[in-house]
Amino acid sequence: MARAIRSNTRLDLIILSVCIVLSLAARALPNTMRDPVATGMRRTFLAPLVLLQERAERGRQSLLSADAKQTYLDSLSLGSMKAESLESENDRLRKLMGLGSRLRWGFIPVEALHGRGVRDETTVILSAGTRAGVTRLSPVIAPEGLVGVVDQVDPTMSHAMLWTHPDFRVSAMSPDGSAYGIAQAHLTGATGGYLLELRGVPFRSALKPGALIISSGWGGVWPRGIPVGTVLEEIKTTEGWARTYLLRPAVNPADVYSVMILRRDRVAKGLDGVWQNLAQVDATAQKIVVSGDSAARSAALAEAAARKAVLDSAARANGAPPVAPDSTRAVTPRPPPVRRAPVADTNVRRDTAPRRDTTRRDSVPARDTIPIRPGVTR
């Protein structure tokens, strides 16, 4: 028993010695031999462990850099948000420059400073005053159209009433002059924001949704041709003698930061051609719609005529009488109406005379009704 234990102990010591000698031999290996041995072990049976360690190291690096990456992403998101606002601002400034090039002269580019008070939705402070040539009741415009009017002027700044102000009125009309009215703010609700309403439009002047409305030039404050808004729908009011339309404003006051003040001499010269493109586009769009309807009608008529010709020829081939005209009357093109010459009879009794197209007093184009403050000259 004791001999067996001693034998085992001796065996243990021998193996221990062998292991230590091998380890020392490995330690004593020159670099040229040490590296191939280590590399061979790493590339063979240790490869899975090396892979695990690499992934763990990578995971640790990811954990350590997570905060930095998040900070970087936050900065990037912030930058992209700023870039978006800068792009929109650039776009707006380009439009403003385009408007300036079309106006050519007589305008003052200013910054609109929105207040944070109770009435900040209806008024703005403009960064130019009398020293820059601003006078009271000078129109304030943006590339999109009408913004407001200057109501107080200081030497270095001025105060403008936006179109959302309850006292703001502007005489407006359709570009073809078929409908006139007075545009004023229309509060859609406590949180719905502002629209415009065009009041006092003669009952015979119907406006389609999408029609452009521009300033009429009546009243002397606003020159003719500045876009006011586009028709959304007709709204019912208690006034039975005139129509009232809801307009989508051309300019959202909350987005106004760079505007132009028109000088009085520029207003007197008019703004012909400045917004003409908009009116032309509107008119062209309407023409396209109308011509589209005409083309469709012509195509239907041509198709009906062809069908009738085929039926007639088939009936003729069978020896039957042609199809009765009544059956195709609904689709047969009508001859153009013959306009009768006007009656030249001048001795017409007053009660039998055709009624003249009288213009009611309430349909006369109204003038701007911006109140003039006492003691202030225009």
């Binding site: 290996l29 072990m41 462990l49």
Partner: protein, 162 residues
């Protein structure tokens, strides 16, 4: 040790080895725990000193292969620690967590002493600082983790009832 116990011991050993190459680099502590030493110590108390020496030699070569400049140093240290642990298993092989913790602590510290002396990369004050500050810290962490793992892996490590 029966076959079931041997299989459980091998599984535990492999788990420790895998943890050494996954959890340890993931944590990246300055005084890291050493799962290879834990695996060696847990295996050594179950085998003869010669076998423990061979296991230590192989584990040492594995760890050295990832640091070729110290090839052999880890093998010497692991061989000695494995042999010693197996030789002293009568002392430390007790169902006492504190004693096991001290066993782990001592095993890791001895390994570090042998390794850093055999590696001959650190000298002077730095070596003293390493052996008297960082190595005990690392040994303490290793002991704590070892005790925790012993507690968690008790069903695997304890011999099955006959």
């Amino acid at each position: 040790m029966n076959v079931g116990g041997a299989i459980r011991a091998i599984i535990s050993f492999l788990i420790f080895v895998v943890l050494h190459y996954t959890l340890r680099p993931l944590l990246g502590w300055r005084a890291p725990m050493d799962f290879l030493v834990l695996a060696l110590l847990l295996a050594s108390v179950r085998v003869r000193p010669a076998t423990a020496a061979v296991i230590g030699f192989i584990l040492g070569l594995i760890s050295d292969s990832l640091a070729p400049d110290a090839l052999g140093a880890g093998a010497i240290a692991m061989t000695v620690v494995g042999f010693g642990a197996s030789y002293l298993k009568a002392v430390f092989f007790a169902d006492n967590l504190v004693l096991n913790a001290f066993f782990f602590f001592l095993g890791k510290w001895v390994f570090d002493i042998l390794y850093f002396i055999g590696e001959q990369r650190v000298h002077g004050v730095e070596l003293v600082q390493q052996l008297l500050l960082w190595s005990p810290l690392s040994a303490a962490v290793t002991a704590a983790v070892g005790v925790l793992l012993l507690f968690i892996m008790r069903p695997l490590l304890e011999p099955s009832p006959a």
